[in-house]
């Protein structure tokens, strides 16, 4: 295999997995920046999005509208968990927030198992999603899912960028993330701002859930756990609480994972991919807690 083509193929893989990490990490970071809350239930909204899309699709709704429905439902569940679980403990000590978030994860995951059973189900995709493209006589191959993943991520991130720089609610969100008291004093409706943040973050998680399921071919109630941990690592190495940090971290992590896996097998490192990733997380927390972008806020766990 030509080495340039090999590099291109790996780059494509890295972008594909990196986009999913970035999509999930951005949501974690938005919520953290506003509430200093690590929302572990964020991964479970991937499950909500994927299952909703699956069932809508099985009920006869075409894939794209079903996907939009899945995103909407994730946002709805996001609003609900903020209202029911997080708003009552807002401003409480970090430990309270952390425990609430972990408890919520268990509740949502077990609810998922109760409703859908824990066994994985096939995630049906329309034929056009599975179309295989090959370039250079088959030396670079990808499916349309990759194209959709990259395209949807790019659109979502562009939308987010527009939203937080050009709309008043988006500006208010950044202001509240920077200084909640000052945001209150200029008349920003903090409750509404937090709700909007959950709508965005949860919608992104729902989209990521569908894309993740499309790549894996299956959905299951615990599907959000691994991507959540990875996105968490991505958000921290990028700079927790920063939207650009989450994006940079997501793609950096995707690239790193693909790099580890594409190392010559004689090195014997690829089985330790996740261990290496978490070692990197520890290294960042110890030596550069502000992440690649050097965010000032201290991350408390």
């Amino acid at each position: 295999m030509n080495s340039l083509e090999y590099v291109l193929q790996q780059l494509l893989n890295a972008l594909s997995i990196g986009s999913l990490y970035a999509l999930v990490a951005v949501g974690l970071s938005i919520i953290f920046s506003l509430l200093r809350l690590t929302n572990f239930a964020h991964g479970d909204l991937m499950m909500v999005g994927a299952f909703a899309t699956l069932f809508l699709n099985l009920a006869g709704v075409p894939f794209v509208p079903a996907l939009l429905g899945g995103i909407l439902l994730s946002s709805g569940v996001g609003i609900l968990i903020e209202r029911v679980a997080y708003r009552p403990v807002r401003g409480s000590p970090d430990v309270t927030l952390l425990l609430t978030s972990v408890a919520l994860t268990y509740i949502l995951e077990n609810l998922g198992i109760l409703l859908f059973s824990s066994s994985p189900r096939n995630f049906p995709l329309p034929d056009w999603m599975g179309t295989v493209y090959s370039l250079f006589d088959g030396r670079i191959t990808f499916t349309f899912i990759t194209v959709v993943t990259l395209g949807a991520t790019l659109l979502s991130l562009l939308f987010l960028g527009w939203f937080v720089t050009r709309t008043r609610v988006g500006l208010g969100m950044r202001a509240a993330a920077e200084d909640l008291t000052a945001a209150n004093l200029v008349g920003i409706d903090v409750n509404r701002t937090v709700t909007v943040a959950f709508v965005l973050a949860s919608g992104f998680a729902g989209l990521a859930g569908v894309l993740w399921a499309a790549q894996a071919g299956v959905v299951e109630p615990l599907m959000g756990f691994t991507p959540l941990l990875k996105a968490f690592v991505a958000a921290i190495i990028g700079g927790f609480g920063s939207i650009p940090g989450a994006i940079v971290g997501g793609f950096a992590l995707g690239a790193l994972e693909v790099l580890i896996q594409s190392l010559p097998s004689e090195l014997g490192l690829s089985p330790y991919r996740d261990a290496l990733v978490f070692a990197l997380l520890i290294a960042f927390l110890l030596f550069r807690p502000g992440g690649i972008l050097g965010v000032r806020t201290e991350v408390k766990l």
């Binding site: 500006l171 920077e178 945001a183 209150n184 004093l185 200029v186 008349g187 920003i188």
Partner: protein, 251 residues
């Protein structure tokens, strides 16, 4: 002990702000022990006192950041007790906080825009935006710059303009001269005098007693969470009891 050097000149005028026996605790610490004061419409009232006397606490309670343990706040007759800080801004009460608290990563223009968060009159907001940029021309020059890159004085001008963007009927100002170069302090106080003559009502917390009493119509002196002294600002200028209140001695 409350000493009255003058009959309250607010009598008969429309009251913009009334604090009735306000008590505020920080945990176990009693920050305010029954503070009552009044600000009439169009008046500039200075709130003086040493560090820790409770001046900022009064402002934070009025703007809804702190909840009183007892007593109440009335704004043009309406009790503010149940309103959120954002709703209070919407009623026409702006608070320009101590330490300026501009949004450092946002541009000067975005900071000003956020000052109008409670308004929905887009055209009028744009007019006011231009007005602020002429009021402090330096802000106009730096409109696209991140607020965090401005000097202390420029940030104070921005914080003041941001508060004015809500078109307040009453403006609470906390230490506008703190950490600001003398030349800019003069400019800011000139602006405040201008606002006063336009009929904006001001409640001013200020360490610089001379400056505050020059601007104010009336003043209150707080000591350990209580009003120790109140009166006409002119007459308080020469009153040595004001200085004594600062030093914490008996009055």
């Amino acid at each position: 002990m409350i000493e009255r050097t003058l009959e309250n000149p607010a009598k008969g005028a429309v009251l913009a702000l009334q604090l009735e026996n306000l008590e505020v605790n920080y945990g176990a610490v009693r920050a305010l022990r029954g503070v009552s004061l009044e600000v009439a419409q169009g008046e500039v009232v200075a709130l003086l006192g040493a560090n820790g006397a409770g001046k900022s606490t009064v402002l934070k309670t009025v703007s809804g950041l702190l909840r009183p343990r007892a007593g109440g706040v009335r704004f043009f007759g309406e009790a503010l007790g149940r309103l959120t800080p954002a709703q209070i801004v919407g009623r026409g009460l702006a608070h320009c906080p101590e330490g300026r608290r501009v949004f450092g990563s946002l541009s000067v223009l975005d900071n000003l825009r956020l000052g109008a968060s409670q308004r929905s009159d887009a055209a009028e907001i744009r007019t006011d935006l231009d007005k602020m940029l002429t009021l402090f021309p330096i802000l106009g020059e730096r409109r696209g710059q991140a607020a965090g890159t401005l000097s202390g004085g420029e940030q104070q001008m921005l914080a003041l303009s941001r508060a004015l963007m809500s078109r307040p009927k009453l403006l609470l100002l906390d230490e506008p001269s703190l950490g600001v170069a003398p030349l800019i302090v003069r400019e800011i106080f000139k602006t405040l005098r201008g606002l006063h003559s336009e009929g904006v009502t001001l409640l001013l917390v200020e360490q610089n007693v001379r400056l505050a009493l020059e601007l104010a119509d009336r003043a209150y002196v707080l000591r350990t969470g209580q009003i120790a002294l109140e009166g006409n600002a002119r007459e308080m200028q020469g009153d040595e009891r004001v200085a004594r209140a600062y030093l914490g001695g008996g009055s």
